[in-house]
């Protein structure tokens, strides 16, 4: 029986709760799997499996999976959790990290009860501090995975595999298990399979004549880091199959809550869009825009790293080569991979505009808003709207007005 806090916690992290059931059976299956996953994890823990709660998209889930543990990504955005988090970290942290702290410190919450080990390949000081506070307050063990913040530095290619090796050894010690090359290959293949399918979904969503709403799409994408990966891969096959099926097989489910194919095409960039962070997306779609891609760290960036070799070096190369976070620095503007990636994304998706989401106090993206805007507008002629916001509805009206004006301009 779930405690009241646990039940509340499930509502916060379960994307489908409180929202309309999808018209598509395959997406309902993802939602159901998500809802069932809580009990599944609790059951697996009773059998002795450990749960590693992590933050940031550069965390090598393959390693954890190969060690027989359950990796779940810690990402929350409830306004309640954000308020609770202030008690431990003050109110100058970004809403995401405040909500993270508020959620995991809540006694009896699912994550508080079921996460055994905290970790993260953190990029910014806020996530770093949030994990330190969480470890102190919950007494859960913490081991950061260091990821170079200056990926343009050649020396990192030599240093990062050392860190992965140390990390794997320490995690092995905690879990009491060792990984084998065979297990690692199996895990890498599994997650590579997921990434291929996610890439296919992004392409479909960009090209489909009747795309599903981006919030519904995100429900599918955001479910991945919580679900059993093998099960998730199967579920993705179902979603792809349904989306690829000819629209003539029945009334278009997409028409329920999606933007028309002819709507202005928008790429979403900037700070993390956490599970259930639906406000900005809803406002964009209500204003008549169609979201055709993102570079969110909980979106496409999570999946932009095919691992070519199932070794620690292969994993290191893949994570170092993936599009960097705003916290990563490149002193050379012309070769900034984050901006290049975003520029490429706007071109491949034929975007009419970019909405750059800045969570309050997210310095990593806020400091770069102006530069990103200048870069894209000069090189691609793509207009950019920077939106500063936080969880809750305190600024709903202001954001709506700005979004509506922007969509009107790019229409």
């Amino acid at each position: 029986m779930a405690t009241s806090n646990e039940a509340a916690s499930r509502r916060q992290v379960f994307p489908a709760a409180g929202t309309r059931r999808s018209a598509r059976a395959s997406i309902r299956a993802v939602d159901d799997a998500y809802a069932f996953r809580y009990d599944e994890i609790a059951s697996l823990r009773r059998e002795g499996r450990k749960v590693v709660g992590y933050v940031c998209n550069y965390f090598p889930v393959e390693l954890v999976h190969a060690l027989g543990a359950i990796p779940i990504r810690l990402a929350f955005c409830s306004a309640d959790a954000m308020e609770r988090g202030k008690k431990y970290v003050g109110d100058s942290m970004c809403p995401f990290t405040r909500a993270l702290v508020g959620e995991v410190t809540q006694e009896g919450s699912f994550t508080n009860q079921h996460v055994d080990f905290l970790s993260g390949a953190v990029m910014c000081q806020q996530a770093y501090n949030a994990l330190r506070v969480l470890s102190y307050q919950t007494k859960k063990p913490l081991r950061f995975l260091w990821l170079p913040l200056n990926p343009s530095n050649d020396e990192v290619r030599g240093a990062f595999p050392h860190e992965l090796e140390d990390f794997a050894a320490e995690l092995s010690g905690f879990l009491g298990r060792t990984w084998t090359p065979e297990a690692l290959k199996e895990s890498v293949d599994l997650y590579n399979g997921i990434r291929e399918r996610i890439a296919r979904l992004y392409a479909l969503q960009s090209e489909h004549s009747q795309p599903i709403s981006w919030n519904e799409f995100n429900r599918v994408i955001h479910a991945g880091p919580f679900l059993d990966p093998a099960h998730y891969r199967t579920l993705l096959d179902g979603v792809i199959g349904e989306l690829e099926a000819p629209a003539s097989t029945g009334p278009s489910p997409a028409s329920v809550n999606s933007a028309p194919a002819t709507a202005p095409r928008v790429v979403l960039s900037g700070s993390i869009v956490a599970p259930r962070d639906t406000t900005l997306i809803s406002l964009l779609e209500e204003a008549g825009a169609r979201i055709v891609g993102d570079d969110s760290c909980h979106g496409s960036r999570t999946f932009s790293l095919p691992i070519k070799s199932p070794t620690l070096q292969g994993i290191a190369d893949a994570y170092l080569g993936s599009p960097p976070c705003g916290s990563a620095q490149n002193p050379d503007l012309e070769n900034d991979r984050r901006l290049r990636h975003l520029q490429d994304l706007t071109q491949t998706t034929r975007a009419d505009g970019v909405v750059y989401y800045c969570l309050r106090f997210c310095d990593s993206y806020a400091f770069k808003a102006s530069e990103t805007k200048t870069f894209l507008e000069k090189r691609g002629g793509v207009p950019v709207l920077a939106v500063h916001s936080e969880y809750g509805e305190s600024d709903l009206g202001q954001v709506r007005t700005r979004v509506e004006a922007f969509v009107e301009i790019i229409r």
Binding site: Y136, W146, D363
Partner: protein, 493 residues
């Protein structure tokens, strides 16, 4: 029976300073009373001050006399019209006056050095030895936001917030604005890139789009201090950083150059450690020889030695002599209450106007974690110099906020015990995420371990009244007064 050296004198701030640092070459009326105040403060007047103050010798062997220091500070057409502001000043502490000069003269010294071809390096969160060894002069530009407080000119902060974010820490946005305005002749930016301070490199990259300031980031693997490969990794980057400075100065950086810089740094660190020993000595705890504001002025240079570790060490050694004299004579610092409530400032330490409020309320800020931790340990003077610096940086945690949580709490607890600290005062800055998010947990750990309570103040820029005088926000004054009063009541109970 102890005596207070003087009551401390508060004077008007200079309105004449401009944001680009240019000096209004005219008489500044408000300065006139200062000379009289100083003369009254010290028996024997002006001659006694200049006689008591030792000359200041710099790294290049140039020396400035005590008379010249005073002339520049308080001369009617002097270059530093905002040397003395509304804050309380202990004019009897003559070496404290010199410390203020050292602080205020940095910008002039940077321009003088630049004119001689010395590369000026904006250094953030890294050891100054790397720049000195390469023949450059380091400067932490964020310190100018402190100058903004002193001068009352907030335009850099406002401009910086346009460039970065309206929610930015005032230090980081000042960095962005000053680089934009070229208010300081920076030739190279070298900044630590790490999770402890991810906003700092972001502020430094604001201008990478063609304004001509070359940037170099040193990637710090925080949390991996025990790993030999991490030390090697950082040492390799330190070597590149020193070489980059050497390229600008036209110098091939030899290991001996780094060793010399390390030796200079260690001398300054030792002088500072003597300073902390004096402050924490039993007699000084009874009668603190420095007021809270003088404390912060003395230790602020510790980060980059304000461009000159030799001068900094000389200055602190002279200050130590003067402090020792006060301790031996049982003399309290100007403005310090009798038997004050002993406070320590962990984490960030800013908000200069607050320090006078602490003294007024009957407290005394005995020290500052951010600075004290920076000189708590020497760099080892054996082996490879870059590796020695990397080991110091990663394993001795000069930036204590980067230390593992338990190590940091251990260090703080040790200081609290030695200093018989009665309360912790966390002075958080709006928008700062280096340390404030963790301070509630640090305070909790100290409370559990030693029973010492904490108070948290978060502020942005100081407020000013209708006449342009600095003031401390009412709620902060009330908070500090109530906190000190509570601790006094606790003593009786």
């Amino acid at each position: 029976m102890s005596t207070s050296h003087n009551a401390g004198v508060a004077v008007r701030p200079g309105r004449e300073v401009t944001s680009d640092g240019s000096q209004p070459n005219r008489i500044v009326d408000y300065q006139k009373p200062i000379l009289g105040a100083i003369q009254q403060a010290v028996t024997g007047g002006w001659d006694a001050i200049t006689g008591a103050m030792e000359p200041l010798t710099f790294q290049d062997n140039t020396t400035i006399s005590s008379a010249e220091v005073l002339k520049r500070l308080i001369g009617c057409a002097g270059p530093y019209p905002h040397a003395f502001t509304d804050f309380r000043h202990d004019f009897g502490l003559v070496e404290g006056l010199k410390a203020k000069y050292f602080f205020l003269s940095l910008r002039d010294r940077l321009f003088e050095a630049s004119a001689k071809g010395v590369p000026i390096v904006s250094l953030r969160g890294l050891p100054g030895e790397l720049v000195h060894a390469g023949g450059g002069m380091p400067v932490d530009i964020a310190i100018w936001f402190t100058e903004s407080w002193v001068s009352g000119d907030y335009r850099f902060v406002e401009k910086g917030r346009q460039l970065t974010s309206f929610e930015s820490c005032p230090g980081e946005c000042a960095v962005a604005a000053i680089l934009e305005a070229r208010n300081i002749p920076v030739d190279l930016v070298i900044a630590a890139s790490g999770t402890v301070m991810s906003d700092a490199p972001c502020a430094h990259t604001i201008h990478r789009g063609g304004r001509g300031v070359q940037s170099l980031f040193v990637d710090i693997p925080h949390g991996l201090e025990a790993k030999d490969w991490a030390v090697q990794y950082v040492a390799g980057q330190f070597r590149q950083a020193a070489a980059a400075v050497g390229q600008l100065s036209g110098k091939i950086v030899r290991d001996e150059d780094v060793w010399q810089a390390i030796r200079h740094g260690n001398e300054a660190r030792r002088a500072y450690r003597e300073f902390t020993s004096l402050i924490l000595s039993p007699a000084a705890l009874l009668n603190p020889p420095l007021a809270s504001f003088e404390q912060i002025v003395a230790v602020v240079p510790a980060f980059e030695w304000l461009g000159d570790p030799v001068a900094n060490a000389n200055l602190i050694r002279s200050l130590n002599k003067e402090i020792r004299g006060r301790i031996d004579a049982g003399v309290r610092g100007g403005g310090v209450a009798e038997n004050p409530v002993r406070l320590f400032v962990p984490g960030r330490a800013c908000l200069a106007p607050i320090y006078s409020v602490i003294d007024d309320a009957g407290g005394a800020a005995l020290g500052f974690e951010l600075f004290w931790s920076f000189f708590a340990e020497d760099v080892d003077e054996t082996g490879d110099p870059y590796q020695a610096l990397a080991e110091w940086y990663l394993r001795k945690w000069p930036y204590s906020i980067a230390a593992p949580f338990e190590k940091r709490v251990d260090w703080l607890a040790g200081i609290c015990k030695k200093g018989q600290i009665e309360g912790l005062l966390f002075l958080n800055i709006f928008g700062c995420n280096w340390d404030p998010p963790v301070t509630l947990s640090v305070a909790d750990a100290i409370k559990r371990r030693l029973g010492i309570p904490s108070i948290f103040l978060t502020s942005d820029m100081p407020e000013k009244d209708a006449e342009g005088r600095f003031k401390v926000a009412g709620q902060h004054r009330t908070q500090i007064e109530a906190f000190v009063e509570m601790l006094k009541v606790g003593r009786r109970g």
